[in-house]
Amino acid sequence: MKNKWLAAPYVVWMAIFVVAPLILVVVFAFTGQDGSVTLDNFSNMGTYVPAFWHSFGLAIAATLICILIGYPLAYFLSREKLMVRKVAMMLIMLPMWMNFLLRTYAWMSILDDNGLINQFLSSIGFFNVWNAIFGTNIQFFHMINTQGAIVLGMVYNFLPFMVLPIFSVIDKIDPKVIEAAQDLGASSSMVFRKVIFPLSLPGVLSGVTMVFIPSVSTFALSRLLGGGKTLLLGDLIEMQFLGNAYNPHLGSAIALVMMVIVLVMMAIMNRFGEGEEGVAVL
C-alpha cells in the first residue's frame, strides 16, 4: 500500500488554499491601496501598540486562568471511573454544539447591571448587607462591559481546549508507573510532582496553544462583553476587511505581525517541552 500519489490531490489543495492565501497576505501587507510596494503599512504599526498590548495581555490572563481551572479538573476527572470519565469528557465537548456567540450572549444577561446575578443578589438582600458592612451605596456589581468580562468570555469559550489535551495525556499515564513510584516510597504529593506533572506537561503545552491562539485573535467578544470599548487585534483586523475602515493592506500587515509574534512565542514555549501534535477527541 505504498502509494504516495494518494496524497497528490490534497497536496495540490493545500498549495492553493493554504499556502497561496498566506502568500497573498504577505503581498497585501507590503503593498499600498494603489498597488505599489511600500512599507507604510508597517511604519504606522506603532499606533496600534495598545491593541497588541490589550490582546496579548487579556489572552495571557485567560490562558493562565484556563490552566488553573483546567489542570485540576482534568486531573480530578482522570481519577474517576471509566463511565464517569467518558460522560464527563462528553459534557466538556457538548457546549460546542451551542453556538459560542449565543452562549456569550447569554453571559450578557447574566453579568448585566440588572442581569441575573445582580437580580439574585439584590433579591436576597445582599447589597444591603454589603453596604452596611463597607459603608458603600451600591445597587449592583458592575461586571459587564469591562476587560474582566472579556477575559471571562475567553475562559468560558476556550476552557474545553485546555481540559481535553491535559486529560488525554494524564489518562494515558501507565498506572504501573505510579504504582512503581508508590512502591518506592513516594508520597501522593511526590507522585504528583515527580511523575504525573512532568508527564502531563505536553498536554499543558498543547492546551496553552489551543487556548492562547483563539484568545489573542478573538473578535466579537470585545464587542459583546466589553462594550466595544477595548479594541482587540481581531476587531482591528476585521475592521480593515469588513468593518468600519476598509483597508485590506493594513489589515494584512497587522495580521502578519500578529502571526509572527504568536509563532515566536509558540516556538519559545515549545522549546521547554515537546508539544504534542494532538487533536481534541470527541
Binding site: 470599548k229 479594541l231 475602515a245 483597508n247
Partner: protein
C-alpha cells in the same frame, strides 16, 4: 463509533431534507409553479429596517426569491461591496455614502421606466444633493437623529447634546459604534459642521470623544434596542424611528432633539455596478415604493416614509408627529452628511482608531 456516526449523518441528512421541504413551502414556490423561478434578488439593507413579511409578500407576488442580508453601518457595507466577490442587487446606504459611491463609480444608473411608483415620492426628496440628477437612487426612509433617554433614570429634561457628555451619567451612556455618526455628535456639541474638512476641528471632536470614553457604557449600533428597552442604559443617541419602536416596549423612554442641531438623513435604494439581477432589482425597488409595502414597513420600523400615499394612509397621530414629519422650523436646524474628500475620510479612519484604542 460507527453506529453513532451513521446515526449522526442520517439524522442530519434527513433533517436537512425535511427543512428543504419547509423552505420550499415558505417561499410559496411549491404552491404556484406559474410564478416560480423568476430568479433571485440579493438585497443588502440595514439591520432592523424592514417588516420582513413584506419580503414574503414580494416573493408571493412576483415569484422572485429574495436573499436578504443586513449590515450595521454605511462603512461596513462599503467594505463588503469593495470586495469584488460579493454581489448585491439592491443596497440601501445613506445619503453621504451614496454620493461617495457615485463618485467612485460603484452604482448603476436606474431605469425609472421600471419604477413607476417613483412618482409617489415626496418631491422635496427628489433630486437631492447626494444624487442631484436623481439617476442612481430612490429614497427608502428618512428621519432625524436625537438623544433617547430613560425618564426613570434621568431626572432633568435634556435639550442638548450636553447630556451625552454628562459625568452624572457615567457608565449609562451609549455611543455610536461608527466613525461618521460618533464624530458627528462631538462636532455638533462643539458647534461645528458635520461636513467640516478642517483637520483641527475633527481632532478636537475626537479629543472630546476620548474624554467621553470613560463615561460610555458601550459603543453600539442596533444593540441599543436591547439596552435601552431593558433599562441597562439611560442615554443613547439614535434615530427617531427606532426610538418609537423602543418606546413601544419601554414607555419610560423619551426623545430629545438637541438644540445645537442634528442630522437629517435619507437612506435610499441603489443598484451596485456588480449587480447581476438588475431587472429584478428594479422590480424590487418599485415594490418597496408601493403603498402597501411602504405602509407595512412604516408601521413596523416607524421611520419617516418618503411616499406621499403612505403618509395619507397613516394614523394622523403618526403623520402629524412633528419629529417624524418635521416642519421647516425644525428642518432649518438640521444638517445632512455630505461625502468628504479622500484625505478627510482617511483622517476619520485614523482618528476613529485613535478613539477606539484610547484607554477607558
Amino acid at each position: 463509533m460507527k453506529k453513532s456516526l451513521a446515526l449522526l449523518t442520517t439524522s442530519a441528512l434527513s433533517l436537512s431534507l425535511v427543512l428543504a421541504g419547509c423552505g420550499g413551502d415558505a417561499t410559496g414556490e411549491a404552491k404556484d409553479p406559474g410564478t416560480a423561478d423568476k430568479g433571485v434578488v440579493n438585497v443588502y439593507n440595514w439591520g432592523v429596517y424592514i417588516d420582513e413579511s413584506v419580503l414574503e409578500d414580494f416573493e408571493a407576488e412576483t415569484g422572485i426569491k429574495v436573499n436578504y442580508d443586513t449590515f450595521e453601518s454605511n462603512e461596513s457595507m462599503y467594505g463588503v461591496l469593495k470586495n469584488d466577490g460579493a454581489s448585491y442587487d439592491v443596497v440601501i446606504p445613506s445619503d453621504y455614502m451614496i454620493s461617495r459611491m457615485i463618485e467612485e463609480d460603484m452604482l448603476e444608473p436606474l431605469n425609472f421606466d421600471n419604477i413607476p411608483n417613483f412618482a409617489d415620492i415626496d418631491p422635496a426628496l427628489k433630486n437631492p444633493d447626494y444624487d442631484p440628477e436623481n439617476q442612481y437612487s430612490v429614497p427608502y426612509m428618512w428621519g432625524l437623529l436625537g438623544v433617547i433617554y430613560n425618564t426613570s433614570m434621568v431626572d432633568e429634561t435634556p435639550t442638548s447634546w450636553d447630556i451625552m457628555f454628562d459625568e452624572d451619567y457615567a457608565g449609562q451612556i451609549l455611543m455610536f459604534n461608527n466613525s461618521r455618526d460618533a464624530i458627528g455628535v462631538a462636532l455638533k456639541q462643539l458647534g461645528y459642521s458635520y461636513n467640516t474638512t478642517d483637520e483641527a476641528q475633527i481632532k478636537e471632536a475626537v479629543d472630546l470623544l476620548i474624554q467621553q470614553k470613560p463615561l460610555v457604557q458601550s459603543y453600539v449600533m442596533d444593540e441599543i434596542f436591547e439596552k435601552m428597552q431593558s433599562g441597562s442604559a439611560a442615554i443613547g443617541a439614535y434615530y427617531y424611528g427606532d426610538y418609537l419602536t423602543m418606546a413601544e416596549v419601554n414607555p419610560d423612554l423619551a426623545f430629545c432633539l438637541p438644540e445645537e442641531g442634528t442630522n437629517l438623513y435619507v437612506d435610499a435604494m441603489c443598484i451596485p455596478k456588480s449587480a447581476e439581477n438588475k431587472e429584478n432589482a428594479e422590480i424590487f425597488i418599485n415594490y418597496m415604493c408601493s403603498t402597501a409595502a411602504g405602509l407595512k414597513n412604516c408601521e413596523e420600523i416607524w421611520y419617516s416614509s418618503p411616499l406621499l400615499s403612505v403618509r395619507e394612509e397613516l394614523d394622523p397621530e403618526v403623520s402629524g408627529d412633528p419629529y417624524a414629519y418635521p416642519d421647516e422650523s425644525i428642518l432649518a436646524n438640521c444638517e445632512s452628511f455630505k461625502n468628504l474628500p479622500a484625505e478627510t475620510l482617511a483622517l476619520y479612519d485614523s482618528e476613529w482608531t485613535r478613539l477606539m484604542l484610547a484607554s477607558n
